[in-house]
């Protein structure tokens, strides 16, 4: 029975992949339920490569809508110490971009609907090549890609490769992004836009909700896509508050901390509980 179900999944997945955009489908479904998306970030291969696919399923089971999967890099310039350490743990296991893609295809074997967005730095992509990476990512079931150090200025060819494969190019916006660039990003971005709610690196504190609210109002004048807010979301209260303003809540460092402090046997359970708490808080809106 489960064999047939798997077979059907794979079959429908192959068909869906050509037509249906999982990210747009997800946001449309959430909108119809008047709910906000919860987008957890984990680093592929942290704390070891074996746990990642299990962890992805756990995230979904506990209430995640979209998964941002970090591609480990030796020099994660835009990340704070927590996510840097997660990258270092993954790299101890030599987790490569190929390995990350393989994890996504493993995940897809039993989950054909949850969108997966890869997030990482330019150089592993440069090493593989734009077109080769985009094609392989499509084959493996990746829905969106955010390369932190490919700003719109340097992205024309890259975005073209993603478009050819119908993969969403996710872009960042920050509190310091001027209006002209917001318009530029609005033209290039697909899927959703990720608003970094703080100056600084990932894992920083101090989230000023009034600032976020004002900036989102400005962004929405130009951007029709859903807007996710990340940086500084640490608990149910901040998640709930941000969900009141944005279309999606992105949580990274707080989850990595949970992974970091959990004994291996309790890792899935602890992360699941955290996601459950965040989910509940977000749905209270």
């Amino acid at each position: 029975m489960s064999f047939i179900k798997n077979l059907l999944n794979i079959f429908s997945d192959q068909n869906d992949a050509k037509k249906i955009n999982r990210i747009a489908t997800k946001f449309a479904a959430l909108k119809s339920q008047n709910r906000k998306a919860l987008i957890p970030f984990i680093t592929a291969g942290d704390p070891n490569p074996e746990v990642t696919v299990l962890l992805m399923h756990q995230l979904v089971q506990s209430g995640a809508d979209i998964i941002e999967l970090g591609v480990p890099f030796s020099d994660p310039m835009a990340d704070g110490p927590t996510i840097q350490r997660s990258s270092e743990r993954a790299l101890k296991h030599h987790v490569s971009l190929h390995d990350v893609l393989h994890m996504v295809s493993e995940f897809r074997k039993t989950d054909s609907t949850t969108p997966v967005v890869l997030m990482g730095y330019a150089n592993p992509v440069e090493a593989l090549g734009y077109a080769a990476f985009a094609a392989k990512a499509k084959d493996c079931g990746v829905d969106g890609i955010l390369i932190v150090d490919y700003p719109p200025e340097e992205s024309a060819e890259w975005v073209q490769c993603l478009e050819q494969q119908e993969i969403d190019a996710i872009f960042l916006l920050s509190p310091t992004t001027p209006q002209a660039r917001i318009e530029q990003v609005a033209k290039m971005a697909r899927g959703y836009v990720y608003y970094v709610s703080l100056k600084g690196v990932t894992g920083a504190s101090h989230l000023d909700l009034q600032d976020v609210s004002a900036m989102l109002a400005q962004l929405r004048q130009y951007i029709a896509l859903p807007i996710g807010v990340g940086f500084g979301i640490r608990d149910g209260a901040t998640a709930k508050a941000v969900a009141g303003l944005a279309d999606a809540v992105v949580v990274g460092s707080r989850i990595i901390e949970e992974i970091e402090k959990s004994p291996e046997a309790e890792l899935l359970g602890n992360v699941g509980n955290l996601i459950g708490t965040l989910r509940k808080a977000i749905d209270e809106n």
């Binding site: 030796s74 150089n123 592993p124 992004t177």
Partner: protein, 399 residues
């Protein structure tokens, strides 16, 4: 042939350079670019920069004809551009003064810097003291251990030295950490990058400030030798002293430009920092350039006896000069550099920095293949006092 005019307005040198940074840094870089493009043509800024270089740094640095060493080598004449005689003992101060003057005009009260060997950190701490600014220097914790004297020097100058514990705990990680500080404190902070790397406009701006080296050399060569040299030789880590000497000569195609990278224990080992000789193009620290990386695009730890060359990237303009064939890049091992260090001490009474010793070692190989009327101008980018402990250790001594 049209005059060399790079980078273009997007900061590209051919396929290299650019602004490969997260969105959070874009507006700061845009602001810096606009301010720099204004002030670089501002007569008052130019006059103050020139005044500081003359009276504070002690420029122009002379060109010295190393006659005894040239005779010993038995070929071309070796001339040394004496950047080691600058205040703080290296070319680094040319750039830190330029950036500090810009920081003041931009109203920034705090400067940050990354450093490997400590030379750029010292040069940054020096100008911060000179202009009354707060200074924080990021330095890999491994380098903090290896360069204790320079750490103390920075502290004496009033700077805070922050040891960086992430990654390989060396220069590249210090650069990552300085970027993180900048992104967090961008409103009151100016990031003084020490070499011709990083996102646009840094490679262009640092080059322009260092171009004083080549501009002086052109005039001095004409005055002292009535002609220009046959080749310029300079060491390349990030490549700021080399580009400073090369840049004014790029259109003078009868002058060979030779960059010397650190081959460490040999370029066939994994312990070297010869980026242009062995690396592949990629993206790191805000620009596209050659990088020492593995097949998955992870950056590999490098090795060189000289901390100033121990960097897995290289300035994007060097990447372009290599690809278009205008400059050549060679490499020199730790042992060869060390031998040149000792030779210059003994033959000329000049103690070169280990970084500069790489350029000297290549000159020592190259000169004997040329006739005695040829002129090689070597950039003696820094003095070697800072390296005495390393040299002693290599000779089996402890100071």
């Amino acid at each position: 042939m049209s005059a060399y005019d790079l980078p273009n307005k997007e900061g590209h040198f051919g396929p290299y350079g650019g602004i490969f940074v997260a969105e959070t840094l874009i507006s700061a870089l845009e602001d810096l670019r606009k301010q720099y493009e204004f002030y670089r043509d501002d007569p008052e800024f130019k006059a103050e920069f020139a005044y500081e270089l003359k009276h504070y740094v002690g420029r122009p640095s002379p060109i010295y004809h190393a006659k005894r060493w040239s005779e010993h080598l038995g070929g071309a004449q070796i001339l040394l551009k004496r950047e080691d005689l600058n205040h703080t003992g290296a070319h680094k101060i040319n750039n830190t003064i330029g950036q500090a003057l810009l920081a003041r005009r931009m109203g920034k009260k705090r400067v940050i810097a990354e450093t490997g060997a400590g030379q750029h950190g010292v040069a940054s701490a020096t100008v911060a003291a000179r202009y009354g600014m707060e200074c924080v220097v990021y330095m890999g914790s491994e380098d903090v251990k290896r360069q204790a004297t320079n750490v103390y020097r920075m502290k004496l100058l009033g700077a805070t030295v922050v040891p960086v514990e992430s990654g390989s705990r060396t220069l590249k990680d210090a650069l990552n950490e300085a970027m993180r500080d900048w992104v967090t404190n961008v409103e009151d902070t100016f990031y003084i990058i020490g070499t011709v790397a990083g996102p646009h406009p840094y490679p262009m701006m640092v080059r322009d400030f260092q171009a004083i080296i080549g501009n002086e050399a052109k005039v001095q060569m004409q005055e002292d030798f009535n002609r220009q040299p046959d080749a310029l030789i300079a060491c390349v880590g990030g490549g700021s002293n080399a580009i400073g000497l090369f840049y004014p000569y790029i259109d003078d195609t009868n002058v060979r430009l030779i960059g010397v990278e650190a081959a460490g224990k040999g370029i066939d080992t994994h312990q070297h920092a010869a980026t242009l000789s062995t690396g592949k193009p990629g993206v790191l620290h805000g620009n596209r350039t050659y990088l020492i990386q593995d097949e998955n695009g992870q950056i590999i730890e490098t090795h060189s006896i000289s901390a100033g060359l121990d960097y897995p990237g290289v300035g994007p303009e060097h990447a372009w000069l290599k690809d278009c064939g205008r400059a050549e890049y060679v490499s020199i091992t730790d042992d060869e550099a060390l031998e040149a260090f000792h030779t210059l001490c003994r033959y000329e009474g000049i103690m070169p920095a280990l970084e500069s010793s790489h350029a000297l070692a290549y000159a020592a190989k190259y000169a004997p293949t040329l006739s005695k009327d040829k002129l090689l101008l070597v950039n003696l980018s820094g003095r070697g006092d800072k390296d005495m402990a390393t040299v002693a250790q290599m000779s089996g001594l402890t100071l």
